[in-house]
Every structure is written in C-alpha cells, then in structure tokens.
C-alpha cells in the first residue's frame, strides 16, 4: 500500500469531539458566551462613552502624569490617527477585544505558569501542548471556536485566548524559575508562610520577566483579534476584511495603519505603566 494513501487526520476524531461537546455542554458554552459578551460590552461602552477627542485628551493626560511626556505624545498621535481616519469606533472595539482577551489569558496563564514552575511533571506535560498552540496557524483556532460559540466576538476572544495563553504561561514559568534561590531560602529562614513568600518575594522578583510575557501576550492578541475579523468579530479586523473582499486599497491601508497605531499604543502604554518603578538591581 502506498503510504501516502494512509491519511492521518486528527481532525477526524477532533471534529466529532467538538460536536459532542456542543451537543452535551451547550448550556455551559451559552453561559460562558453570555459572560464574555457582557464584559466585552462593558469595555466597549466605557471606551465609546466619551467622544473621540475626549478619550484622546484623557489618555494623553494620564500618560503624561503616570509615565512621561514621550509616551503621552505618542499616545496622542496614535489615537489621533485612529480618530481622524474615521475608524474610531472600530479601533475602540478592537481595543476592547484585546483587553478582554489579555485579561482572560493572564487569568488562565498566570496560575498555570506558577504551577509549571513548581511541578516539573506538569511543565513536562504542558510544554508540548504549548508548542503546538504557538505553532499552529492561529486562524485554525477559529474553526472549533466558531463551531462552539458560533460567529461573532466571543469565538474571536476564545481563539485569541488560546493563542495568547502560551507565551504568557511560558514566561510566567520562566519568571518564577529565575527567582534567586537565596531569596526563597531567606523567606523560609525568616519563617514566612508560602503565601507571603509568593506575594512578597517571588512575584516582585518575577516582575521584569512577567512584563515581557504580558507585552508578548498583548501584541499576539492584537494580531489574532484582527484576524478574527474573518468570523465577524468587528473592529479593525472587519475593516481589513472588507477592504480585502471589495479590493478597496484605501480602506485596507487605513485599517492596517490603524492597527499599527493601536499596537504601538498598547505596547508603549503597557510597558510604561508596568515599568514605572524602576527595579533596582543589586
């Protein structure tokens, strides 16, 4: 027999599994869907409550007060572009999608990352899964997400979370592995409880690496959220998709540049906010 005729297809058993989940756990998925939708709606409402110039002024002011002038100017320029290019609502929708996705990714990845740093066995088991999650082309995740949550923003967020969990979890594990052994010994020698050691020694020492993870998570989530325009997630992704299907170069380019603007904004703001207190290295 010709070996190429043997079709190895994980999808052949994965698809029925998804169907089965869908049939038997529909209420659960419906519930998750409703919760995510509500949270996302709240984010969007807040971001769109003020007129465009109001949000720009507010963000610029906060960046100036909390970070520095440079970041404030950059934020004003990036948001200004989104506003002036007529893509304000889409940009804010994208921001809301990214925020919710990153929030969920961190909520999942942070505890799992700590677990992997503590339990070698768990890391050995999770590592190949993370490898696959990071390497599979991201729009493949959209298929099961749409099968379970149907079209719209919720499957977009689900697919994004799957994509964003991997780097966050890996870097969380790395961050906790890198905590100097002598600091852990110090905690024990002082008679600190494991909780105090975690909160007052490990997490502060892990912050620099955790920030790198968060930054990665934000940027990968943005990429995925844009891609999710394909499944009706709205936002800038939808504009790009529209430009593509109608062959409208102008719209596509504007939306593309707005995505760059949002990416730069998120990157600089997250870095700036989280690195506000410079870590003193001994």
């Amino acid at each position: 027999m010709n070996p190429t005729e043997m079709r190895v297809s994980p999808g052949a058993w994965l698809a029925p599994a998804i169907d089965w989940l869908n049939a038997n756990f529909h209420p659960l998925f419906a519930f998750i869907s409703r919760v995510v939708d509500t949270v996302l709606g709240a984010f969007e409402t807040v971001l769109l409550a003020l007129p465009g110039w109001g949000v720009i002024a507010l963000v610029t002011l906060l960046a100036l007060l909390l970070i520095n002038l440079r970041t404030a100017v950059l934020a004003a320029a990036m948001l200004g572009f989104c506003w002036l290019s007529g893509l304000w609502t889409a940009s804010m929708q994208t921001l809301a999608l990214v925020s919710v996705s990153v929030l969920l990714s961190v909520l999942i990845a942070f505890p799992l990352g700590i677990l992997a740093a503590r339990v070698k066995r768990f890391e050995q088991m999770s590592s190949p899964v993370l490898n696959i999650m990071q390497t599979v082309p991201p729009w493949v995740y959209l298929i099961p997400a749409v099968m379970i949550f149907s079209l719209g923003k919720v499957p977009a967020i689900m697919a994004t979370v799957i994509y964003g969990v991997a780097p966050m979890m890996r870097l969380t594990t790395l961050a906790f592995r890198q905590v100097p052994r002598n600091l852990l010994e110090l905690g024990q020698a002082l008679g600190a409880t494991p909780r105090v050691i975690l909160l007052k020694i490990e997490i502060p020492a892990a912050v620099p690496t955790l920030l790198v993870g968060l930054n990665q998570c934000i940027l990968l989530s943005l990429a995925m959220v844009v891609l999710a325009g394909l499944v009706g997630a709205g936002g800038l992704g939808a504009e790009v998709t529209r430009g593509l299907t109608r062959m409208e170069m102008g719209l596509g380019l504007r939306a593309g540049l707005a995505i760059v603007a949002v990416a730069l904004l998120l990157d600089r703001l997250s870095r700036g906010l989280l690195q506000r207190k410079p870590i003193q290295q001994s």
Binding site: N182, E185, G191, A192, P204, K277
Partner: protein, 370 residues
C-alpha cells in the same frame, strides 16, 4: 579570645548523630558508611548517593560563637541549613531550645525560625525592590508586626550596624560590606537568640572583612546572642569563635577552642591548616611557662617577687611587650595571688615557633647558658 566562653551552660542548639545524604538509597548508604566504614567515593559508586553531612553531633551553648570551618564541599553549608531545617536531615535529631525540629508542624517550625533562629547569607539576599529599611524590617513584616513598630525596630538595628543614614536607599546603591551589614541588621531586628551565619564575609575584601568580624563579635557579645558561624578561613574562625569545629568530607574532625586546635591538632589535616597561623594572639602564658621553683633554683641571684607579673591568660603578644618594656630576665605568672610559673625569652620564642616539644624544651633547656 575565648576568655568569655559561655557562662551559662544552657544548650541552645544540639545535633545528635545527624546525617544528610543526597540521592535515592539513603538508608543503605548511611548503613554502609556507619556500620561498614565504606568510603564516600565508594558509596557514590555503589549507591549513587552523595554524603553531605556524616554523623555530626554538636552543641551550641548560650552566648557562644561556634565556628564551623571547612573547605568547599566539606558539607558546612549543608550542616548549617540542617540547624533550621532548610534542609531536612536524613537521620539523627536537631534540637533548637530543646525542641526536636522533626516533630514540629509547619506553623511551629515557622515560629521557631522567625523568633529563635535567624540566618545571614553569604549572598546577603536583600530584596532588590525594597529600600534598606524595608529590607531590615522584612522579618517583622513577615510576622505581621505593624508598619510603625517594625520600622522603628529596623531603624534601631540600622543604628547598631552604623547605617542609619542609608535607610531610604536601595540595596543596589550599597557596597558589598554595607549590604552585609544590612543583612546583619535584618537578623538583629527579629531579635533571635541564635544567629546562623553562612559564610557572610567570604566575598568581602580583607580589610572590610576584619572590620565586620570585629563588629560582629562585639555586637553578638553585647547583645548576648549565640551564633553558628560558617567559614572557610581558619583565621576568621580563630578571630571570632569561642569554639571551632573543623569539618572535612561531611565529618567533624575536631572541636575545641582556637588554642586547642592550634596547639593540639587532632590529625595531619588539621595540623596542615594550623601550620601558617600566627600564634601571637592564640598561645597563652599557661601553655608556654616553665616551673617557677626550678627556675628560681637555677637563678638564685634573681628575686622572683621583683619580676614583672602577668596572668596565665595573657597571650604571647602581651608577654613579649611586657618583657621588652620591663627589661627583666623573665615574667612571673600569677594566678589567684599565687605564682604558678615563669615565662622566659626562650619560652616565648618556642611559643611563637610552635615546636611540639615546648614543655620539655622549655623546662630543661638552655637556661644553663644564662
């Protein structure tokens, strides 16, 4: 240096037949080593086990500084971590203030660590994101003491180590010696009775190290603390220790005062170590003096009562100074008002030289030519 050996003989830390073996077949390795005397190397080969600490028994008394001296790989860092159970012993008992650490649950062990037995690390282990004051107060913070109270206590400890002006700085801004002082202040803030010092001064340059040694000894004695001090430097052990334990390959070879170890090394290994040590501050009058009656008989023209007087605990350095300044032929050693011996220049030279036949040489020797 060992004049202030613990007045109260209360034992604060006690190890009884403690073993620490790293590897899988721990019990078999201990059995092979203890009952059949199999060598460390052979045990690694046969059982895949590394013996860190081998059948160590020791006692640390209230108010004493107990030094453990050994080269790297001798198991001294493992041993000190057994004393507060940062490492769990494979066999044997560790008692802190009469409590067997093995019988304590998590909370009780944490209580012992936070209140009775503090630790200072070679790497200092300061938290880089906290100010000096917050670092020093950290032990109390862990115990849930209020901010006001712990900062006041931390400020006091910083004063004790002479760093009160540096409270708001961050560890990265301090030199190595200052960081180690902060480590010392941190342990003092918790006010434990026992301080474990894991090679705290090893990474410092010699001048700062000596300064810190003196300060540490002064502080420990004035505060009435006991300390277990790990070092790879025999001179440091001699400067600091009321008693010194010499460790090699996980075994304690000899325990005694600095003088015991220098004058009566237990084996060739210890003797080798001791060889280069200056005896000026170690050897005391009582171990070099000759019998005064014999000496007087040989020198009838010298009045014993006119000789300059020193105590039996006076070290060679003092004796030499006294002899040179007085210009006398010898020194009379007096204890409790009674003469117990004389020290002649020959005795002093023998003492400095450290020849093994001091007594014989000192008593019989060259007085004839005098």
């Amino acid at each position: 240096m060992n004049s202030s050996v613990a007045c109260a003989d209360e034992v604060l830390v006690s190890c009884r037949g403690v073993w620490k073996v790293f590897g899988k077949h721990v019990d078999e390795a201990i059995e092979a080593s203890r009952d059949r005397g199999v060598s460390k190397k052979q045990i690694l080969h046969d059982h895949g086990c590394v013996i860190g600490v081998s059948d160590v028994s020791l006692e640390v008394k209230r108010g004493e500084i107990f030094c453990i001296m050994g080269l790297s790989g001798s198991g001294k860092s493992t041993l000190i971590r057994l004393l507060n159970k940062l490492i769990v012993p494979s066999a044997g008992q560790v008692l802190v203030k009469g409590q067997d650490l093995a019988t304590l649950d998590g909370a009780a062990l944490r209580k012992v660590r936070s209140q009775h037995i503090g630790m200072v690390f070679q790497s200092v282990a300061l938290l880089p994101h906290r100010s000096v004051l917050e670092n020093v107060a950290f032990g109390l913070e862990v115990q849930g003491v209020s901010k006001h109270e712990r900062h006041a206590a931390a400020q006091q400890s910083l004063e004790k180590v002479g760093l009160s002006d540096w409270a708001t700085r961050f560890p990265g801004e301090l030199s190595g010696g200052m960081q180690q002082r902060v480590g010392l202040a941190r342990v003092l803030t918790c006010d434990p009775e026992i301080i474990l010092m894991d090679e705290p001064f090893s990474a410092l340059d010699p001048l700062i190290r000596r300064q810190l040694q003196d300060e540490f000894r002064g502080l420990t004695k004035s505060l009435g603390k006991s300390a277990v001090f790990i070092t790879h430097d025999l001179e440091e052990a001699i400067r600091l220790g009321d008693r010194i334990a010499i460790m090699k390959d996980g075994v304690i070879i000899q325990v005694g005062s600095a003088e015991d170890i220098v004058l009566k090394p237990a084996d060739a290994y210890v003797a080798d170590f001791v060889a280069g040590i200056s005896r000026l501050h170690l050897v005391r009058a009582h171990s070099v003096m000759s019998q005064h009656a014999q000496w007087a008989a040989r020198h009838p023209h010298i009045d014993l009562a006119a000789l300059p007087v020193a105590g039996p605990q006076a070290d060679l350095d003092e004796l030499i100074n006294l002899l040179i300044q007085s210009g006398a032929e010898a020194l009379l050693i007096v204890e409790g008002g009674q003469p117990v011996g004389v020290v002649t220049p020959t005795d002093l030279l023998r003492g400095v030289q450290g020849s093994e036949s001091e007594e014989g040489a000192a008593v019989v020797a060259p007085e004839v030519q005098a």
